[in-house]
Amino acid sequence: MSQPASLTWLASHEFRLGWRDWTSLITAGGRTRARTAAIALIIFVVFMHLFAFWTVASYANVNLATDTAALVGITGSLVLSWSLLLSQAMESVTRAFYSRSDLDLILTSPASARKVFAVRMGRIAAAAIAIAVLLAAPFINVLALLGGSRWLAAYGVVATMGAVATAAALSLTIALFRIMGAKRTRLIAQIVAAVIGAAFVIGLQIAAIFSAGSLSRFAALQSDWMLAHAPDTGSAIWWPAHAVLGDYAALGAVMFFGIGALVAAIALFSRRFGEHAVAAAGVSSATVRQLRWSLGFRRRSQGRVLRHKEWALLRRDPWLISQTLMQILYLLPPALLLWITFHDGNDSFLVLIPVVVMAAGQLAGGLAWLSISGEDAPDLVATAPITSRRILMAKVEAVIGMISLIFAPIVVVLTLDAAYAGILCGLGVLSAAAAATIVQLCFRVQARRSQFRRRQTSSRLATFAEAFSSIAWAATTALAAAQTWAALGTAAVAFGILAGVWLISPSRASR
C-alpha cells in the first residue's frame, strides 16, 4: 500500500473519484441502469465500428507515405480533432479551478498542495487521453483490421494529442488567469474553449466556401493553394501524420514531445494552480450592480413576466451563452455561403437549409432545457396564482421567441434570394425548434440552471430524441426545398420520433 498523501496515494484517490464520476455519468446515478448502460454502450461501439468501416475502410491499404495531399489531409484531421480536445481540456481545467467541492479540505490539510494539484492535472490529462483514444478507437481498429498492424501506431498519436491538449489547456488557462484575473478568467476561458472547438471547423468551411462553394471541410485541405504552400514531405510538421501511417521513429519523437510537454506543464504549473484556485474561490462574492433603464414596476401579463424573466436570466449569464455559443458559431459558414449564393444566384441553399434547421433544433433544445427544467425558483413559480399550463406556455414562447430572433436574419435574406426556399427554411427552423422543445417538455426534470452541462447525461433518451428529431426536420426541409416527395417520408419519421417521445415520456407516465 502507498504512503498516505504520497503521489501514488493521491493518484489512486483521484482515480477512484474519476471512475465514480464516469460510472455515474454513464448510469445516471442508478445501479439498476448499469446493465442497460452496458448494453447501450456495446450497441454504440458496434455502431461506431460500422460507421468507421463506412468512412475509412477504403484508406486501409493505401500507401500514403509520400503523398503530400494525404499528409495534408491527415494532419488537418489531426489538428481538427486536437482543437476539439483542447476545447474540452480547457473546460476541464477551468472547472477544476472554480469548483469548490473538496478544495477547502485539500488546502487546509497538511498534504502538499503542489502534489495534490499535480495529481489533479494528471487526472485531467488522463481523462483527455481516454476520451481521445475511445473516440478514435473504432477508426483505428477498422484500419488495423483491414490494413495491418501499422495503423495501431495511431493509438500513440491520439494519446499524445490528449497529453498535448492538456498541456496547452493548462498553459492557456493559467496565462488567462495572470492576464485577466480570477474574476474574468472563468467566462473568457469558456468562451475561448467554445471558439477553439468551433474555429478550426468553421475556418475550414469558410475557406472551402471561397475556394469551392461547398461546406466540405476537406475541400480546403485539398485545394491547389494549400498543396502548393505545404512544406515538403520530410518536414517535421508531418511527423504526426507519418506516425499515424506506422513510422515508429516519427511516433517515438511525437510521443516524447507530447509526454514531455505534459510533464513540463504539470511541473511548472502545479504550485500556481493552487494559488489560482484560491483566487478563484473569492470570485463568487463579487457583486454586480444592475442599471435600470426605466424606473418603476411595469404592467405586464403573467406570461410576459415569465418570458421577460427567462430572457433576462439568459442574457445575464455569459457562462450559459458560452455553452450555447458553439451552435451559434456553426451558423457563420452557412451565413457566409448564403451571402455568396445571394450574389452568385446558384442553388447552394439546398446545402444551407439543413444546416440552419439542424442548428435551430439543437439550440432550441438547450434553451428549452434552461427555460423548462432549469428553474432556480421552482417553488415560487409553482405557488404563484397561474396555471401550470400557462407557465409552460410562457416558457415555450420564450424559447421560440429567442430562436426566431436568432434565425430571422438568415431566413429573411434567404427569402429575398429564393422565396420558396426561405419560407421552407423558416418553417423548418420553427418545426425543429418546436420539436426540440416538445422533447424537453416530455423529459422535463427539476434542476438548477448551473446543471446545464449535465443535461445531456441526465436523460440520454432526451438527448438522442432531440438530435434525431433535428436531423429528421433538417432532412425534411432540405428534401422539400429540392421538391421531392421523399420529404413526406422524413416528415413522417420526425413525427414518429415525437410520438415515440410522448409515449415513453416520464412526465406522461407520472400523470
Binding site: 450592480r289 444592475q290 418603476g296 433576462a312
Partner: protein, 252 residues
C-alpha cells in the same frame, strides 16, 4: 386570542399523503385569521409535506384543503392568490436584483404596479436591503437571500403566509428582522404558519403550537394547553415536546 372571533384562515380535513410509507395520515388542522401558528415535530414527522400540500406543491392522496373559504384543490389559482410560501432554502434568481425579483413576483401575482412598487420599497427598507436593491443576488449571503425571498413572499400582501424553517442558518440580527416582520404581519391581521425546530421561537412567537408526529397532529394549543396535556405544568416547551413525542412513539 379568542379564536371564536376570527374567521378560519386554513382548514385541513383528513389530509393524507403517502410516499413509500404514510407521510401525512388523515390530518385535521384549523388555523384562524390573525393567528401565528407554529408547527413543531421531529424530523420526518410530516410538517413540510403538510405545508407543501397546502401551497399546492404536492397533491394530497385524500382530504380537503380550504384557504380562507376557498377549496384549494378545486380552485388552486384563487387559493394561491392569497397565499405565500417561503422554504428554508431561499429560492431566488441569482441574475436578478432584489428590486427586479420583487417586480417579477408582483407581476406573477398580478399586483397593480404602483402599489407593488410602493410595497417593494417599503419591504426593502424594512429588511435593510436598500444598499443592495440593485445588485444581482448572486453574491448574497444566506441571510440576505432569505430576506429577499421573504420580501417576495410579502410583496403581494398575502392573507396567509406559510414558512418552512425560515430561521435556519440565519445570524441573530437577520433572524430578529425576520421575526419582527412576521410579528408585524400578524398585528396587521395576516395569518402566519411556520414550522420550526427552534422551540424557543415557537414558544415566544406563536399564539398556538401544533405538535405533529408520524403524520398526525398529536397535540395542539397554547404552551399551557400542551403542558396540561402532559400533566406537568412547570416544564419548558422543549420538555413538553419531548414528552409528547415519546408518548406518541410509545403508543405507536
Amino acid at each position: 386570542m379568542n379564536q371564536q372571533n376570527y374567521p378560519i384562515a386554513l382548514a385541513l380535513r383528513g389530509i393524507s399523503k403517502r410516499f413509500d410509507r404514510p407521510a401525512v395520515d388523515a390530518l385535521d388542522l384549523t388555523v384562524y385569521g390573525g393567528e401565528f401558528y407554529a408547527l413543531v415535530g421531529p424530523n420526518g414527522a410530516g410538517k413540510t409535506t403538510t405545508l407543501r400540500m397546502v401551497v399546492g406543491l404536492l397533491r394530497p392522496d385524500a382530504g380537503l384543503i380550504c384557504i380562507d373559504g376557498i377549496d384549494a384543490l378545486s380552485d388552486p389559482v384563487a387559493a394561491k392568490q392569497i397565499t405565500a410560501w417561503l422554504s428554508d432554502e431561499p429560492m431566488i434568481y441569482d441574475k436578478l436584483t432584489p428590486y427586479e425579483y420583487l417586480e417579477f413576483v408582483a407581476g406573477l401575482w398580478r399586483i397593480e404596479p404602483a402599489a407593488a412598487e410602493a410595497r417593494a420599497r417599503e419591504l426593502i427598507g424594512w429588511l435593510g436591503l436598500e444598499p443592495h436593491a440593485h445588485e444581482r443576488c448572486e453574491g448574497f449571503s444566506k441571510g440576505m437571500r432569505q430576506k429577499v425571498a421573504l420580501a417576495g413572499a410579502l410583496v403581494h400582501d398575502p392573507k396567509l403566509i406559510i414558512l418552512d424553517e425560515p430561521l435556519t442558518g440565519l445570524d441573530a440580527g437577520t433572524a430578529r428582522q425576520v421575526k419582527d416582520v412576521l410579528r408585524a404581519r400578524v398585528r396587521a391581521g395576516g395569518t402566519v404558519i411556520m414550522t420550526t425546530h427552534i422551540l424557543e421561537v415557537a414558544e415566544r412567537m406563536a399564539d398556538r403550537i401544533g405538535v405533529i408526529a408520524g403524520g398526525r397532529l398529536i397535540a395542539e394549543g397554547t404552551l399551557d394547553d400542551l403542558r396540561r396535556q402532559t400533566g406537568k405544568t412547570a416544564t419548558s416547551l422543549e420538555d413538553t415536546f419531548l414528552m409528547l413525542v415519546a408518548e406518541q412513539a410509545a403508543a405507536a
